[in-house]
Structures are given as C-alpha cells and as structure tokens.
C-alpha cells in the first residue's frame, strides 16, 4: 500500500472513529438528545429536512462567497500597496491592526443599524473577517523579494510595475493561497455570525431558531452543514493552489509537467 493511500486511510479512520466514539458514549452514558444528540440522529435529521435546509445553505453560501470575493479584492489591493511602498506600510498598518483587533461580533449590530437585517450585514461581516490575513500575506510576499534581483532588473531599466508583475506577484502566490484557505473559513464565521444575530435566512438563523425550539438535532445538523461547506471550499482552494504554486513545494510532478 502506498504511503499516500495509507495516510488517507488513517485520516478516514480517525473521522469514523470520532463519530463512533461519540455515538457509543452517548448510548452508554444515556445522554439526552436535548443535550447532545447522537451522530445518527443528526444525520437522520439532515436527511429528513434537507429540502427545508437547502435554501438556507444556499443563502449562507452566496453571502459568504460574495463577502469572501470582496474581502480578497480589498485584501489584495491593500496588501500590494503596503508591500510595495514603505510609506503606505507605515501609514496604513497601525489603522489596520486596530481594525483587525475589534471582535467582529461587535461590528454586526452596527452593520444592521446601517443596512437592516439580512444579506448585507452578512456579506460585510464576512468581508471584515477575511481580508486581514490576505493583506498580511500579500505584503509579506512582496517584501521578501531579493534585493539583488531587484538591482538586476532595475539596471535593465525595469519599472516598478515590471518588477511587481514579473517577480513580486508570482513570488506572493504561495502566501496568497495559504491566506485564501484561512480567509474562506473566516468568511464563513463572519456570515454565520451575522445570520445568528440579524437575519431570517441562512444556516446561522436556522441554528438560532432551532436552539430556541430545543430542536437540538437540527442545531447540530446546521453545524455539520457548516463543517461540510468549510471543508469543500478549503479543498477547492487547495486544488487551485497545487496547480498554481506547485513550484513552491518542489513537487516532482510539477517539474515534469
């Protein structure tokens, strides 16, 4: 059996084992499903109510994605600016750090105040949550360009844009994709957070409603859905990352491709 296959098998076994242990402990200790439903109950709920849950899943997914795309755009622009220009770095960074230290739960009520409840605060919260890791990573990537290489290019008459385009941005790609994987999960946290506070749609809202109805299996069904969506997006970005920045990990497959 190859190493790769064995590794995957272990990962799958761990997940199965986790659910099995959960199931068995609940049965043995006779835990009420009002406190902690068994995984089988959660999956049964998921299957039974999938039709009702699907619109909420779609709502969370699209608000997250819009917030994420906007966050990435904002993050790349700010990151590129402070990575290229020392002045921009000195000027903008303190404000950014201040902003990123604010717990985003505290910002949601303000967004609701401005835009009403619904999709808009969810999108904005997702944006606010996810742009900062992108800024930091893009700026770091750009700042690590070798000075000798910059000298070589400058002596050729390269403009700053030439250097950014041919050296800075490609060098930043591994940092960028690493931050995308973090940012997309952060965006989820943001949109669900906003939904739980102020929305009548979305998985966050479903979970809040279900918990006030003591429909605990449905709360957990919501959790499972969020985890599944998070994994899905993480995997999607990992695949793109492997294609675009294979050079950074020195994969043999990339070299011969």
């Amino acid at each position: 059996m190859s190493y790769d296959l064995r590794r995957r098998l272990w990962a799958a076994l761990l997940i199965l084992g986790f659910f099995a242990a959960w199931e068995i402990l609940c049965l043995v200790l006779q835990v009420s499903d009002l406190v902690l439903p068994r995984p089988t109950q959660v999956f049964a709920t998921l299957a039974a109510r999938f039709g009702i849950l699907l619109p909420h899943v779609m709502q969370t997914l699209w608000t997250t994605m819009i917030g994420f795309v906007l966050g990435v755009t904002v993050g790349v622009v700010i990151g590129a600016a402070i990575g290229v220009s020392r002045t921009a770095y000195d000027t903008v960074y303190p404000l950014l750090i201040g902003f990123s230290s604010i717990p985003k739960v505290a910002v949601v009520p303000i967004f609701v105040l401005w835009f009403g409840s619904g999709a808009t605060p969810a999108i904005l919260t997702a944006l606010a949550m996810c742009f900062f890791p992108i800024v930091v990573n893009i700026a770091t990537g750009l700042a690590t360009t070798e000075p000798e290489l910059e000298d070589v290019l400058k002596s050729l008459g390269a403009s700053r844009l030439d250097i950014l385009w041919n050296v800075g941005l490609p060098r930043t790609m591994p940092f960028f994709f690493a931050s995308l994987k973090i940012a997309v999960t952060f965006a989820f946290v943001g949109s669900v957070l906003s939904e739980t506070v102020a929305s009548n749609k979305g998985i966050g809202n479903v979970m809040m409603t279900a918990s006030s109805n003591f429909d605990v299996p449905l709360v957990f069904a919501g959790l499972f859905l969020l985890a599944a969506l998070g994994i899905l997006l993480y995997v999607a970005f990992s695949l793109v990352e492997a294609r675009v920045t294979g050079w950074a990990t020195r994969r043999q497959g990339f070299a011969s491709a």
Binding site: V152, S155, G157, N166, V167, P170, R171, T245
Partner: protein, 284 residues
C-alpha cells in the same frame, strides 16, 4: 607587464571608446552633518571592450563603484558617465550578475534566462511574438555555450550551484549588453567549479567582447580573467593601484602557477595587506 594602462585621454564626448568614466565620484551615506564616507573621490576610466577587475579589502567600496556604474546609486559628489552620458540616461545596455544567482523558482531555466528580453527595449515589444521562436533559440544557443543546453526545461532547484551561476551569467548576457557588471559571481562556489567557470567566462567574453567590471576577492580570479586590475584601499575606498594584465589569451588554470602570474598575485596581495593594516592603524 606594464604598470600604466593605455587609455586615450580626452573628453568622453569626443572619445566614444570610453565605456565608463567616474570623475571625482564620491559617495557618503547618512544625514547631513553626520555622514559616513563609503567612497573617496575616485577617478576610473574603462575603455569599451576592457575587462577590469576591482579588488580590495572587504567593505572598501567596490560594490559602491559597481552600483554607481549600474545607475542604482547616484554619486554624492562628482560625476559618473556611462556610454558617454550621465548615468540614468541608460545610454548603455547593462547586464548584471551577483554571487546569489536569484533565479525565479517558478520559471524554467529557459524562461529565467529570457527574463531580460521581457524587460529591455527593443526586445520587450517582440517578447510575446518571439518567445517561442527566435528568443527561445537565442537562449538555447547561449545555454549551449555554457554547457547547460540539456537543462533549459529544468527548474532552478534541480540545478547545482555551479550550474545556477552559469545560468546567471547567461541571464546577464542574453540581451547583448555592452557593459557587464559582475559582483563576486563565483564567490560561493568550490575551487574546481570556480576555475571551470573562469574558463566559461573567458570564452563568453572573447566571443562577445562586452566591457566588463568584475568585483572579486580572489586575486587569482582577477589575474585569470582581467585585462586590467584596480586595487582599492580600505573604507572609505579609493583606487591605489591600476595595472594592465598582459598574459596571452586564452588563459589556462595551469598558467596561474607560472612565475609571472604568481608574482602578480604576490604584488596585489601585498598591496591589499598594506591597505588593510593602514586602515587598522587609522581605526586604532
């Protein structure tokens, strides 16, 4: 061996054969009133097609001269004229190579060497059209000259240090610069690879005859490659000796054991040791 170099005297505008001229060029860093001199008033003339090696104690301002010539640094006082114009006007096409080969890890060797063609005029306007045809052939021909033709489609991390440095030389030469600036390009290599690359460098130079300014710590390297050697004093540096090297070409590593060559080496060594101890006395 003659001590003086045969460079025609005259104003640069009527002497187009002068590739580089530093006249009373000095560099100091720091705030006004609290400056540190990096280079004392220096005069240096390099004729077109000359191979000049610059040696001296570390930190003496060799790299400063190189950066001045490349237009990466402006002199605090004096003037730097390259190709008959003040630096910055880009009168000459310049190629540069450092000790660190700085190949881009996401590009193949072929594309790395091609990078200057993507940037330098007039090649850059044809880059998209010719990168798979004419430019590619040019890169391959140059790589063949240094024995790397089989590695064109490899990525930099698949090559050894010596091979990367060959590729680095190719990148510095692909756009046919008339001035080549080398900052200790072979400094990080082992002795045998270094001697091998001296041979490569010599044949590249004999074939194309660009003007070369080479910075090195290796006196043997300077004697092997250069047609003229300038010795600098300790920081803040100035040129204290300037002599032609007349050994016939192509030179061989065997030649570096000849009595004449050893004598040259000895003389340069003594000059640098003196410069170092002078600096130590001044510093004490």
């Amino acid at each position: 061996m003659s001590r003086s170099h045969a460079i025609p005297q005259g104003h640069p505008s009527i002497a187009p054969s002068i590739a580089v001229e530093l006249s009373q060029a000095a560099v100091s860093f720091g705030k006004p009133g609290k400056t540190v001199a990096a280079l004392q008033e220096t005069n240096l003339r390099i004729a077109a097609g000359e191979f000049v090696a610059l040696v001296g104690p570390s930190g003496c301002g060799k790299s400063t001269i190189l950066r001045l010539t490349a237009g990466l640094l402006n002199p605090t006082r004096g003037a730097v004229i390259v190709g008959g114009r003040e630096v910055g006007a880009k009168a000459l096409r310049i190629g540069m190579a450092f000790q660190n080969p700085t190949m881009l890890p996401w590009l193949t060797i072929e594309r790395n060497v091609m990078l200057p063609l993507k940037i330098v005029r007039p090649f850059r306007s044809d880059y998209r059209a010719k990168r798979r045809t004419e430019f590619r052939d040019r890169v391959h021909a140059l790589l063949a000259d240094v024995g790397l033709d089989k590695f064109a489609n490899h990525y930099p991390w698949q090559l050894s240090g010596g091979m990367l440095q060959r590729a680095n030389l190719c990148r510095a030469l692909i756009h046919e610069p008339s001035l080549l600036l080398l900052d200790e390009p072979f400094g990080a290599l082992d002795q045998f690879t270094r001697e091998e690359l001296w041979g490569t460098m010599q044949s590249l130079w004999l074939k194309r005859k660009p003007t070369v300014l080479l910075i090195t710590h290796d006196l043997k390297e300077a004697g092997f490659l250069a047609s003229r050697i300038c010795v600098m004093s300790a920081r803040p540096g100035r040129i204290i000796d300037d002599s032609a090297v007349d050994f016939p070409r192509p030179r061989t590593v065997d030649m570096t054991f000849d009595a004449d060559f050893v004598a040259l080496n000895q003389r340069l060594r003594d000059l640098i040791i003196d410069a170092r101890s002078d600096a130590a006395i001044q510093g004490a």
